[in-house]
């Protein structure tokens, strides 16, 4: 499972859901794997940026021993290489209309910030390990990259 998934996961136990401590789940004894992508999915990063729980992601990166994420989240503009913005204005004018938007995005180059973020969220995977709830301490196992959130009989 890629690390971005942790941005959406909490404890599955209903009584934990209301507690702030149930998010994020804390990775423990994790074996990581980096699956490199050929290109950075810039439109996706831009779209998902406001939905990232930045402080919590920093905690996760820290607990996994990954390079620290900056203390404040990047802005959408930070994700784009500044030099590529001038060409996009021209192309936008030429292709007035809606098809232009896709082309505009295709011509934008991801910045180093975008590449770093892409590496952490969309290329780094948890292969084996545990995810632990900060509220109740329940451990969810990750095996072969698949986390198991099924609850035992007494916790449902």
């Amino acid at each position: 499972m890629k690390l971005l998934t942790l941005n959406f996961l909490t404890c599955a136990i209903k009584t934990c859901k209301t507690s702030p401590a149930s998010f994020p789940l804390h990775p423990r004894d994790c074996e990581l794997e980096v699956v490199e992508s050929e290109s950075v999915n810039l439109p996706f990063l831009k779209n998902i940026l406001p939905r990232l729980m930045w402080d919590e992601l920093r905690v996760i990166a820290d607990e996994l021993g990954l390079p620290a994420l900056p203390s404040t989240p990047p802005t959408r503009d930070d994700l784009v290489e500044p030099s590529s913005s001038s060409t996009t204005t021209i192309s936008h004018a030429q292709n007035a209309g809606n098809a232009a938007e896709g082309q505009q995005q295709a011509e934008e180059k991801p910045s180093q910030t975008a590449r770093d973020l892409h590496r952490v969220l969309l290329e780094t995977c948890i292969k084996e390990g545990k995810l632990v709830c900060g509220n109740c301490g329940h451990e969810y196992k990750v095996m072969e990259g698949v986390a198991n959130f099924l609850l035992p009989g007494h916790l449902v």
Binding site: K17, T18, N47, A99, Y140, G145, N148
Partner: protein, 478 residues
């Protein structure tokens, strides 16, 4: 806005308009339907430009292509007059362009000689460029629409080809060629269609809570979305136990399917979970803006309880003190299997809606399949939620039952009616056996006999039918 002719295919008719509308929404262009008929593969729409037409149709599953409409009429005479009126200004533009001119008949054919004569009758267009059947710069097509078994066509169109559809994907994603499938995998055409109607696109995040072998996530990833999914059965995600494919050996898993189509970079992963005890973050209160939705779309085919069990976590009967202690004692052992119980089908549908409300971004979409028995006398009940608006309902009919693709839009808080009651607490079927909990399953295995009987009896009164399935909002089958 100019008029375009969409050459549709004559399958899954009730999905076609919903698909075109959805694709226009994805492309961000306005579409206006001028002429559409369930029984005809010829649909006339208004779109702003050729590039808009291409953006819409290039992803379409249920069409062959889109053409700029140059004329139409009930007879060739009328067609020629119409072409004179509509498009004479455009003729000169193609005077010396290499071109192709072909004929397409629906429910009728012409001999080679007849075809030639028809094409010759358009010589007044004055195209003097070379004829190229392969890779022409511009391509024209005459469409003949016949009544069944009629000798003469009832309507004719002439169009200039603008763009081909994305129907090729149906072959590329064909289940027969997919490495890893299961008994309930959705066929590729319908999975891709679901992804289109749910507005899967580049930059978006999609989730399938009943992923199985990942057919829907694969389809959404094909259209550019980043996807993830879950299933209560971990074996289907991990892939141990092999595939439904006979004689297949070696490790096959959901990740492998993404690799097969070179979509791995858009697959976040799958996890094992139960929708009624989901580990995903849920919006706690509808006015909680700090913790808003994060999914652009949810696509799923929930278990019907026929070929695959409809189960959720939890023991069938309430645990007593000693049983609880045993679970508490043993749950960390590697061989421990969490107990599961059958669940009400109407309840799971409502759970999906509630989950969608708690996870979708504003205007995000939920597309889910729902099976129903085909009976005119029993009211069809579509699940509803005050925060979700029904966008489209598409029907795939079978002999005695049918299934519907229900698509909802997550309403922005400002559009949710303040008077809308919180989703009413409903009484669902009670019981511990699958048949007691799942009406559809029971009817299915009884061979839908009940309906044969009902058909002969007088129609039950309105009052009797009210809330027969315990759900508000009623749609009468069209």
């Amino acid at each position: 806005m100019p008029e375009y002719l969409v050459r549709l295919v004559q399958v899954h008719e009730s999905f076609r308009k919903a698909e075109l509308q959805a694709l226009a929404d994805v492309a961000g262009v306005g579409i206006e339907f001028v002429k559409y008929n369930q029984d005809s593969p010829f649909c006339i729409v208004r779109l702003p430009s050729d590039s808009a037409a291409e953006a819409v149709i290039s992803r379409s599953l249920l069409s062959q292509g889109i053409y700029e409409l140059w004329g139409q009429g009930p007879t060739y005479e009328a067609l020629h007059t119409s072409i004179q009126e509509l498009s004479s200004s455009k003729w000169l533009k193609y005077e010396s362009t290499p071109f192709r001119f072909t004929l397409d008949g629906f429910r009728g054919t012409r001999t080679q000689t007849e075809q030639q004569a028809i094409i010759e009758s358009f010589s007044y267009l004055g195209f003097n460029g070379p004829i190229r059947m392969r890779d022409p710069d511009v391509s024209f097509r005459v469409f003949e629409d016949y009544e069944d078994k009629a000798l003469e066509p009832k309507h004719l169109y002439l169009g200039r080809f603008v763009a081909a559809s994305g129907r090729d994907a149906k072959t590329a994603f064909d289940l027969k060629k997919r490495h890893y499938i299961s008994t309930t995998s959705m066929d590729a055409e319908l999975a891709l269609l679901t992804a289109n109607i749910a507005l899967a696109a580049t930059g978006k995040l999609f989730y399938d809570p009943f992923m199985g072998t990942g057919g829907f996530p694969v389809a959404c990833a094909h259209f550019g979305a980043v996807v993830f999914g879950s299933d209560i059965d971990g074996r289907s995600i991990r892939g141990t136990g092999g595939s439904a494919r006979k004689g297949q050996v070696g490790k096959k898993d959901v990740g492998g399917n993404f690799k097969q189509y070179d979509l791995e970079s858009r697959y976040l992963g799958g996890f094992v979970s139960d929708l009624t005890n989901t580990p995903l973050r849920l919006l706690q209160h509808s006015n909680d803006s700090t913790n808003g939705g994060y999914l652009d779309g949810i696509v799923c085919d929930p278990p019907y309880g026929i070929r695959e069990g409809l189960k959720v976590l939890g023991p069938r009967e309430k645990l007593n003190v000693t049983e609880r202690a045993t679970h508490l004692d043993r749950f960390k052992e590697p061989t421990y299997i969490p107990p599961k119980r059958p669940y009400s089908f109407t309840a799971i549908l409502d759970d999906i809606l509630a989950f969608a409300v708690a996870t979708l971004v504003e205007n995000g979409r939920l597309s889910m399949w729902m099976p129903t028995a085909n009976d005119e006398d029993v009211e069809l009940v579509i699940p509803t939620h005050p925060c979700l608006e029904i966008v489209s309902i598409c029907v795939q009919p079978f002999n005695k039952w049918s299934r519907r693709l229900l698509t909802y839009r997550r309403l922005p808080e400002s559009e949710v009616s303040p008077n809308a009651p919180e989703m009413a607490k409903k009484e669902y079927e009670k019981g511990v056996k699958a048949d007691e909990l799942n009406d559809f399953r029971r009817k299915y295995f009884e061979g839908f006999k009940e309906f044969e009987r009902l058909r002969q009896e007088p129609t039950p009164s309105e009052e009797d039918m009210m809330d027969s399935k315990g759900i508000s909002g009623k749609w009468r089958k069209a």
